[in-house]
């Protein structure tokens, strides 16, 4: 007698805020939220790239657990009850965003990404209208050596989207991170000027996925840098299939 094929991935039901939902058990919380348009702030996660878990803005509460979980790196499970909004979470997200603004030099009014920046947009969403944390005011370098693009470390939030897209989608691995702690910096090749890179194909994927005004096109002026990330899920799927 023919046996019904046993599915390798099961479907689970869970509750996110007041929504009863179903999901495949290999999905993460953030994937399910995105699918159902439940907003969760995030800066490092991007559909199509590997999980990073660095920005910590996507933290959610799970019923019955005192610790928080990162939605981008936690898989769903049967019967899970998830809270994406609470006073505590809002307060934490607010503080994390403040930490980012205080860390480097974000002067939106003169930034090419003004109005099209994920950090700025999230700050507005999360009600960060002032920063209580002292600004560090450390000047960072700008690398304009590439003929088409520019890297302004003053706007970098070290989300490593550029590192991952370059490695995982373009296959060039031009970018990496050097040093530790607040001294961390994204580097091209072995900390050489980007324009001298042997590996960069000038595809511009890193520029498009960069959430802020850190990676931009040369020649853009204030507010002109609009990014397009639609290519990513499509390319990622193609990479995955091949």
């Amino acid at each position: 007698m023919a046996q019904p094929a046993t599915p390798t991935v099961r479907v689970v039901t869970l509750r996110i805020d007041d929504h009863d939902l179903s999901a495949r058990e290999d999905e993460t919380i953030i994937e399910v939220c995105r699918e159902h348009h439940i907003p969760i702030p995030s800066l490092c996660h991007l559909d199509g790239l590997s999980v990073w878990g660095g920005c910590r803005l996507c933290m959610v509460e799970l019923e019955g657990q005192s610790r928080l979980y990162a939605a981008c790196s936690t898989r769903v499970a049967e019967g899970m009850r998830i809270q994406t909004q609470s006073d505590r979470l809002r307060r934490y997200r607010h503080t994390i965003l403040e930490l980012l603004f205080a860390e480097r030099n974000h002067v939106c009014s003169v930034c090419v990404s003004n109005g099209h920046c994920e950090l700025q947009w999230l700050a507005q969403k999360c009600g960060v209208d002032h920063v209580r944390i002292p600004y560090r005011h450390v000047a960072y370098p700008v690398d304009s050596s590439h003929e088409m693009f520019r890297l302004d470390h003053n706007r970098c939030i070290l989300c490593t989207r550029c590192v991952r897209v370059c490695d995982e989608i373009e296959g060039a691995h031009t970018w990496d991170v050097m040093n530790r702690g607040t001294d961390c910096r994204v580097i091209s090749d072995l900390a050489q000027p980007w324009g001298n890179s042997d590996t960069c194909t000038s595809c511009g994927k890193c520029v498009q996925v960069c959430p802020t005004g850190a990676l931009v096109k040369q020649g853009t002026s204030v507010g002109e840098m609009v990014k397009d990330q639609h290519f990513l899920p499509i390319l990622a799927r193609r990479r995955h299939l091949s």
Binding site: V51, W52, G53, G54, C55, R56, M59, R67, L68, A70, S73, T74, R75, R91, Y92, T95, I96, L99, L100, A102, E103, R132, I133, P134, R136, I157, L158, D176, V177, N179, R180, G181, T182, D183, C184
Partner: protein, 536 residues
């Protein structure tokens, strides 16, 4: 190999030096070496010659009282430390007197009493061979019963029985978290996978901690034996010891031990003539504290940037190169051989209800006897500090003891009578950690202490996640401001808020615990912070 064959071998090794009656043991562990033990050993060896066939001079591992080094013990063979005549601060010029004392009266001017509580109050399981056997000698390890546990496990026990003994013992991870070792082993054993790995975490990065270093330098075979038993129990045939490169002596002794164990057939193919094979390799860490965190450590072994990744998946499920991996601390592995030899019930009889066995602590700071001790879980802090540690020097008074390093906290005088175990320390707002204990007297400023540890976390943060990378930096800035008398009540409030956020949202243990030193000093010494506020 049958256990009896090994016992025979051990008897044969003992017979080889049956004529030796007296021993002069020179501590050749790192601390004593740095205070000049090598020339002492040389002078004594030269004077002793062949010792008339009845006396010998040998280098041994750490005796514990490192602050009094170089230490030399004169003892009957097979006699332990407490029954020996111990000499402190020995110089090469003292060698003739010491050699004369081997068969005569002790040299009183060098003498360090061994009936003092520092020696008498300890219970040595992990350190049982430290300071007694020659760490570079395979024979001397076997002569004191070494590898008997491995042979017993391989020839008389199934992997499931080994797991049961370890679970029964109640041993909890000595790397800081206190996760039940038996449970961790069973999880890896049950996870399907053709290739599994064992990793020994010898990265030991806490400032002031040197327990693991001492074990590796003094009794390296014991760690290898524990790892091999683990490999048998979980079905792994490949292991790594991840040691920090700043421990050259430990690495050297480990290499010697590996070579000799392999040569004798206790590692490599067909361990002790059984079907079980077990290869161990050494990997050197480059001195990043965060590489002690298990996922960062594994990334580092794989040749990647030593940076933590989110868990789950835990190493037990997906560790080294995606394979099920067991990772334990040096001291955890060092407890395995005695557990298998004497049974899990024996081990479970020592310690407190939820923390079994003993714990090695490194006493440091403002305390008379700095060095290494091993006491049963549940020993009171007062006993450790005032009795074993000999109290506070220079007529000062005790103020606080810091446990758990940069992830831990300070305990004030009023809680000194608590028995030390994983849970009691947690209720006091600190953690057991790996075993560092830094004692502070009334001259220490608690804001400074918090600032010191925060600086450590700030410079050791890997930078991956925002709360830890930027948060430790900001907290350090605020602590600095308060310590300098320029802080305000608003700064203190912001500091406390950052503590909460960094603790709750950081990716790995480094960030999650970085606020602990601040939170615990605020809990017990808030007045010191407030007294320093500019608007206070």
């Amino acid at each position: 190999m049958h256990p009896e064959d090994l016992a025979e071998k051990a008897a044969q090794f003992r017979a080889e030096d049956a004529a030796i009656k007296r021993e002069v043991r020179v501590c050749m562990a790192a601390s004593c070496q740095s205070s000049g033990a090598a020339p002492v050993l040389e002078a004594l060896t030269q004077l002793c010659g062949d010792g008339g066939g009845t006396c010998r001079v040998k280098g041994v591992g750490c005796m514990g009282l490192c602050s009094a080094g170089p230490l030399v013990a004169v003892a009957d063979k097979d006699c332990d430390l407490a029954d020996s005549v111990l000499y402190r601060d020995v110089m090469p010029t003292d060698a003739p007197d010491i050699m004369r004392s081997v068969c005569g009266a002790p040299v009183e001017r060098l003498r360090c009493p061994t009936d003092q509580p520092f020696f008498a109050r300890q219970q040595r399981i992990v350190l049982e061979n430290c300071g007694i056997i020659d760490p570079d000698s395979f024979k001397s390890y076997v002569a004191v019963g070494g590898y008997a546990a491995l042979v017993k496990a391989l020839s008389e026990m199934t992997p499931a029985e080994v797991l049961r003994e370890v679970t029964t013992s109640g041993l909890r991870g000595r790397g800081g978290g206190g996760y039940p070792t038996g449970l961790k082993w069973s999880t890896v054993a049950k996870t399907p996978g053709a290739q599994k790995y064992v990793i020994c975490n010898a990265d030991e990065g806490d400032p002031g901690a040197f327990m693991d270093r001492a074990v590796l330098e003094s009794d390296p075979h014991r760690v290898l034996e524990g790892m091999a038993i683990a490999g048998y129990a979980i079905g792994a045939n490949k292991a790594y010891v991840y040691v920090r490169a700043e421990y050259p002596l430990a690495v050297e002794r480990l290499q010697t031990a590996l070579r000799k164990a392999r040569g004798a057939g206790f590692l490599g193919n067909r361990v002790a003539d059984t079907q079980f094979s077990f290869e161990v390799e050494i990997r050197l860490g480059a001195g990043a504290f965060v590489c002690g965190e298990e996922t960062a450590l594994m990334a580092s072994i794989e040749g990647l940037r030593g940076q933590p990744r989110p868990r789950p998946p835990y190493p037990a499920e997906s560790g080294l190169w995606g394979c099920p991996t067991l990772i334990n601390n040096v001291e955890s592995f060092a407890n395995i051989a005695p557990i298998i030899r004497n049974g899990g019930d024996w081990f479970a009889g020592i310690g407190t209800e939820k923390s079994k066995g003993t714990k090695v602590f490194a006493l440091a700071g403002k305390i008379q006897n700095t060095g290494l001790i091993e006491v049963p879980m549940g020993t009171s802090l007062r006993d450790i500090i005032e009795v074993i540690g000999g109290g506070i020097p220079d007529g000062k008074t005790f103020k606080a003891v810091q446990t758990g390093g940069p992830s831990g906290g300070c305990i004030p005088e009023q809680h000194l009578d608590i028995g030390v175990d994983y849970d009691s320390l947690k209720t006091l707002g600190t953690i057991m950690g790996s075993g560092g204990m830094i004692v502070m007297d009334d001259t220490s400023c608690m804001v400074d202490v918090a600032r010191y540890f925060m600086e450590f976390c700030m410079t050791e943060s890997c930078g991956k996640c925002i709360p830890c990378r930027a948060g430790t930096q900001q907290m350090h800035g605020l602590l600095d401001k308060i310590a300098n008398g320029q802080g305000t009540a608003a700064d203190l409030a912001l500091l406390e808020e950052l503590c909460e956020v960094v603790q709750a949202t950081s990716l790995c243990g480094l960030g999650q615990t970085a606020p602990n030193p601040v939170l615990s000093t605020l809990r017990y010494f808030r007045d010191e912070y407030e007294a320093k506020l500019a608007d206070g």
